[in-house]
Symmetry: C2
Subunit: 497 residues, 2 copies
């Protein structure tokens, strides 16, 4: 270890604690805070953010990074990787002048506020001017970061969510998938139409019973309640810190599967956080690799493991008991058909496993064009509807169910969308590799025993933190970098066989 490197570790440890504090306050804001606490909380979070920014943009940090990098050969591989991640963090933090950061933050808040009104009213024109103002600032920051990172502006935005990711790489993956999906979807819909329609279990399903079952399943999957909590919030998420992971869900008395599958999804995120290398807790290299890797873990648990026949066979009697259910609707094969129904729809968050990638590919293609300046925002609704027609064969009745449906663009999170489907692809690849490496995984899941699966994930994914790039991580764990093949094989297996 060198003096400069050591000084950096000290500073990043402090930075980490401040960010963790902000993370806990964000969780509280969604899960606990009464409405009247909002102003004080915004102020607390803003001050924490400024404090973190000051800590990292101190000129001393740039000097230390250079000095430590010059002595890089004195560091072991983990410390070298840590230094690389420090540099990345530093670049993203210092790339933008303070006034641009502040302008972005204000534009984000303003645009989100107007979007919250415009969406229910399906009024794209109402949000267009503020969206344009926000986009101008996003493009300005993309340009600034692109110069420093040495990549295209869109890739610079992407890098914040998917470190090292590039449109060139995503294009290859998405184009392959976009070629596969339309025909595949047609065959699935055909097969489904010919098959028996699933019966919906009859509710209501009391929230207390849903929660008790959710906790039981979380524990089965491996969630440790001495290191985390389950609460409710308007939008389910996974927050907190690795040693205190807080997941949330929301309950619908008419449909227990929504909350349950949501909880299993968030549990996948939570297990990733918990499994990150504990000896690197407070350092950048100890953090999750990125949003694609994170989504791979939630989708691996929810989609790959928990919508499979083995898990549903384990779940069916538990659910029947929890809700005092009776009749053929509670049979495992009926529940599994129900959980895996495919139907093209307008709304991404309600989409099934087969049509979900189309929603993401549409958004990815549009935002790439918009950031490049090849598509004007005024033309977005038309381009959206044309894309929906092309990819899913349907056209939304209005912009509320179209280009206004997601918060991301109106909140400034350009470059985020592709990570959903990159995660889905990685999940399929990892689950296939895990099953092949540890043959008893499926049978164990059928008994509600996730230990063999989680053990493999811990060792091959979680414990690596940000040591590797996403592609390196996948290569090491599965023998190949990100490749849609396993996802296609999975879809064929689940929906056509």
């Amino acid at each position: 270890m060198t003096r400069a490197y050591e000084a950096l570790e000290t500073r990043f440890r402090r930075l980490n604690s401040l960010r963790e504090a902000a993370g806990m306050l964000n969780w509280d804001m969604s899960a606990m805070m009464p409405a009247g606490g909002a102003d004080a909380r915004s102020e607390q979070l803003a001050v924490l953010q400024v404090t973190c920014h000051d800590l990292l943009s101190d000129p001393a940090v740039g000097d230390l990074l250079e000095e430590a990098e010059g002595e890089g050969q004195a560091l072991d591989p983990w410390r070298r990787a840590n230094l690389r991640e420090m540099r990345r963090d530093w670049l993203h933090t210092t790339a933008l002048p303070t006034d641009l950061v502040e302008a972005l933050s204000r534009a984000r808040n303003r645009c989100e506020m107007i979007w919250r009104q415009a969406r229910p009213e399906s009024d794209f024109a109402a949000v267009l001017p503020t969206m344009q103002a926000l986009l101008d600032l996003v493009r300005e920051s993309a340009a600034a970061k692109s110069a420093l990172l040495g990549c295209a502006p869109y890739d610079a935005l992407l890098d914040e969510f998917e470190p090292g990711g590039s449109a060139a790489r995503i294009d290859v993956v998405f184009d392959q998938l976009a070629k596969f999906l339309p025909d595949f979807l047609g065959r699935v819909l055909e097969k489904q139409a010919a098959a028996q329609q699933p019966l919906a279990p009859e509710g209501p399903f009391p929230i207390a019973a849903q929660e008790a079952l959710a906790r039981r399943l979380m524990a089965a999957v491996g969630f440790d309640f001495t290191h985390g909590r389950l609460d409710t919030s308007l939008h389910p998420f996974c927050g907190g810190v690795p040693d205190d992971v807080r997941i949330t869900t929301r309950y619908d008395e008419g449909d227990f599967a929504k909350a349950l599958m949501g909880v299993l999804h968030e549990t996948g995120h939570a297990l990733y956080e918990r499994g990150l290398p504990s000896e690197w807790r407070a350092q950048p290299v100890g953090a999750a690799r990125g949003m694609a890797a994170h989504e791979s873990q939630s989708l691996l648990i929810e989609m790959q493991a928990c919508r499979g026949a083995e898990f549903v066979a384990y779940l069916a009697p538990l659910a029947r008991e929890a809700f005092a259910g009776d009749g053929p609707a509670w049979a495992a094969d009926n529940l599994q058909r129900m959980y895996n129904q495919v139907r093209p729809g307008f709304i991404r968050v309600d989409a099934d496993e087969v049509t979900y990638p189309a929603h993401v590919i549409l958004r990815y293609r549009l935002e790439k064009q918009i950031i490049a300046g090849d598509l004007a925002l005024a033309d977005l609704p038309g381009a959206w509807n044309a894309g929906m027609k092309e990819l899913l064969g349907i056209v939304p009745p209005d912009d509320g169910d179209g280009c206004l449906q997601d918060i991301h663009w109106f909140d400034g999170a350009w470059g985020y969308f592709p990570t959903y489907t990159l995660g889905a692809i990685a999940a399929a690849q990892l689950f296939a590799a895990a099953k092949s490496a540890v043959p008893e995984i499926l049978a164990a899941i059928g008994r509600g025993d996730f230990a063999p699966l989680i053990g493999w994930l811990r060792q091959n994914v979680h414990a690596w933190g940000s040591f590797h790039s996403t592609d390196e991580l996948l290569e090491q764990a599965t023998g190949s970098p990100l490749d849609p093949k396993a996802f296609e094989v999975h879809l064929i297996g689940r929906f056509l066989e």
Copy 2:
């Protein structure tokens, strides 16, 4: 406003947000956090503390304070008071060298840990060496602060909890009370022995019903749930921030009064926080006056208002209904006798209104002597037992029920104890003044309407924040500085008439 003053306001606003963040995380630690989150949380809180310390001990702050004080005539009275409170905050923060602050923090943690073992084992000798080590550091910091504040070492410790307080002032008040109490206690015990013994309502009292009743009473008293929460924790407290006040309680299925009175107590604290001047939210002058003023608000609600005949008459039918009670135990006059039983005991936190001051006076006298170097820690158990004999006529069977019972000395909070009884005295004084200014207060409380009382408190106490000293505040609100007379009148009225 002057340039220097304005720069100070900006810095203290930032400091306030960081402290608020720490406050919320402290609440979470007690009310929400799973055990496994403890290490990460300690780290978060430690970093926030260091960040606050750095922000205030920056040499620029000392310069700005001097400059602003030199231009004090250009400031209005609230800003002048704010400047005075900034100086006080700055003195307490910068009085101690960093290594003493760190040594204190370590000694505190170590001593508390050993105390947690020693108390149940009643083993004073086991904690004595670490307690001595902590005390040495406490005395060192008292000496350092006393030099800067220009007061005696004990007063310098007291000043952190009761700004501007002094042993000379407290001696007068406590000596008067200590003269009144023993004879008064004898008369109360005599009267009680001759009267009908209260009947305890029979439980169990389901926790859900206790909580529902507690929430109903909180709302009646004036707690606004859009600006706060009620949760459970091992040790009840009032935390959070003025616009998001979080109170906690704990439930005992065998005794509903404990949680209920505890909730009313914390509601008194919460209303004080909520009522602090909103235009001074982020500044020192906008904070609560001190621990005595705070305790005056909780005891005013719990002891003065909610153990009085009017409130109990309102409460009795609600409680009977909540717990489906039946029979004479649920009559208002029986419940009131039950809530106001007097019995000398060993444990402060279980003490009634009459004997409580004796517990506090004992601790105050002992800690004053210890800090002055007039009593060795090794002689504490003997002095404790002698004091109990003198003040309450009883001697604890062991140190666990004696000098080991409270956390304060083992956690480094020397100078805190007197604020409990200063608060009780102020509560009586304020309640008497309120009733005399707004004659309908008692009748309204009898209908569960606290608006007249809270309105008076808002205007005469809450809205003043730290503008006045405690004595000035009382003088303005009641016509006289702190004076035990009203407390004695209250005790006589409640227990002998």
